[in-house]
Amino acid sequence: MFFVSHLVNGLQLGSIYALVALGYTMVYGIIKLLNFAHGDFIMVGGYIALFSLSTTFFGLPPAVAVVLTIVGCMLLAVVVEKLAYRPLRNAPRISVLITAIGVSLLLQNLAQYFFGATPMNFPTHLLIPAGGITMGDVFVAYTPLITIIAALISMVILTYLVQRTKLGKAMRAVSEDTEAAQLMGINVNTIITFTFAVGAGLAGIGALLYGAGYPRIEHTLGVMLGLMAFVAAVVGGIGSIPGAMIGGFAIGLVEALVTALGFSEWRIGAVFLILIIVLMVRPTGIMGRSMMEKV
């Protein structure tokens, strides 16, 4: 009973990490960029969701708020890619990395400027109803339940998209060999834009679920969340989509487990310990291909 509730907490947190980690890993897979602004896309998504739902602001129906948040995140990512990253397509990787950090700081500062530094309360129950269901002698609230289900559905759709559709296959082709993909007639810029949009769409879903579960929206929200999701992506094997999913859940569960054992202030440390161990045993992450395989 005690165990089940912590398991649910871990899966809830892991769902969000996984959704965010997917964005990191997909963008990395395509252009080998660690998009440090990705966590801040979620922060922006959090504010969009909050303002559209909250009755003191727009008070829009949940479905509309969901669409606005997802589309808003996608647009933001596409604009950031176009304005900040695309001009650096042939620049050294370190320049792009520094730019990504710059974009991240810019988004945080803009959010602080416009929305203030005080955290705002997310209207959780305007998105997901209060209450829950009882299974046997275990009570599970709707929020974690819906979070886990929504994340799983998103992952199924993403897997279908990447494995079966023409655009998804083109994404895999670009990620494996950009030049060869161009020789197939694939417009690499289109695929990069598409990848950013899909990754940010998942971040938008992550933002909604994050807001529902941890209802404090502030301009630095993306920092820790982004970092943990990044760790999840690396643990899973950066560039690997199933890896990001596994890594996300693994990190969420580790945090919940450490908390359950009464060491909640050690949970971040535990996550990094896992990271170090995984990198020592398998430097390319759980699902990552070793560099040798590629040659």
């Binding site: 296959k169 082709a173 020789l183 197939m184 694939i186 417009n187 690499v188 590629k294």
Partner: protein, 233 residues
């Protein structure tokens, strides 16, 4: 069909292609021969839009393509089988062929995939297999089949014989000849100059970024300098 004038290509400060002119007429097999580092691959990459020439022009099928994006060039009917095959190793044979079809209609795709399998029966047996597990020869066949999926008018092949056993090389060259008979114009880059000149109509000899000699394939095979440098005496 393809006309290159005054091609100059740089890699940063390295001057790789130094004022190259040549042409390929419809229906021909033209070969570009030259030693390691002469610039053969660079020329093909520049034609397919992966690299840019500083000056001059590239004309394909009556249109200037010197500033055209590579994905558009493929669509116009110019396919490039790159050096080292570059098949998508993590994708299946079938998926690789589907990628080759990227610019073409989906309706006729399966029919054309079957045509590729008729030409390369070894690929049919390995349809579901991941390309990374294919042998070098099979990967070369896949790379060629993939390029054919884009219905090219002109097919550029960069060292298709590289690393293959003699018997397989024969087979690949037979297929090149068949493709040409079926109406595909061929630009063939080879280090295996003898084989290339055997099937080619004309040839160009490239040395450190410059074309130093051009003639009919027969005449090049008879040329003393060519024999010494490229045909082993």
């Amino acid at each position: 069909m393809l006309k290159i004038s005054d091609m100059n290509v740089y890699y940063g400060s390295i001057y790789a292609i130094k004022g190259v002119d040549f042409e390929v007429n419809e229906g021909e097999i033209v070969t570009l021969i030259g030693a390691n580092g002469a610039g053969k691959s660079t020329i093909l990459k520049t034609i397919s839009g992966l690299l840019r020439s500083k000056t001059g022009s590239i004309e394909f099928d009556g249109e200037a393509i010197g500033n055209t994006a590579s994905h558009t060039i493929v669509k116009r009917g110019l396919a490039h089988v790159p050096e080292g095959r570059r098949v998508f190793l993590q994708m299946s044979v079938q998926e690789n062929l589907e990628m080759g079809n990227y610019t073409q209609s989906n309706k006729t795709m399966n029919q054309r995939i079957e045509q590729v399998f008729e030409r390369f029966p070894r690929l049919l047996e390995r349809r579901k297999q991941v390309a990374g597990t294919l042998s070098g020869g099979e990967q070369q066949m896949l790379a060629m089949g993939r390029a054919l999926m884009s219905r090219p008018k002109l097919l550029m092949l960069d060292e298709p014989s590289m690393g293959l056993a003699p018997l397989l090389v024969e087979q690949i060259f037979d297929i090149i000849r068949e493709l040409n008979k079926a109406g595909v114009t061929i630009l063939l880059v080879e280090q295996n100059a003898n084989m290339a000149l055997n099937i080619a109509d004309r040839g160009y000899v490239l040395e450190t970024g410059k074309i130093v000699l051009t003639d009919s394939a027969k005449a090049l095979q008879a040329n003393d300098a060519v024999r010494k440098a490229y045909l082993g005496g």
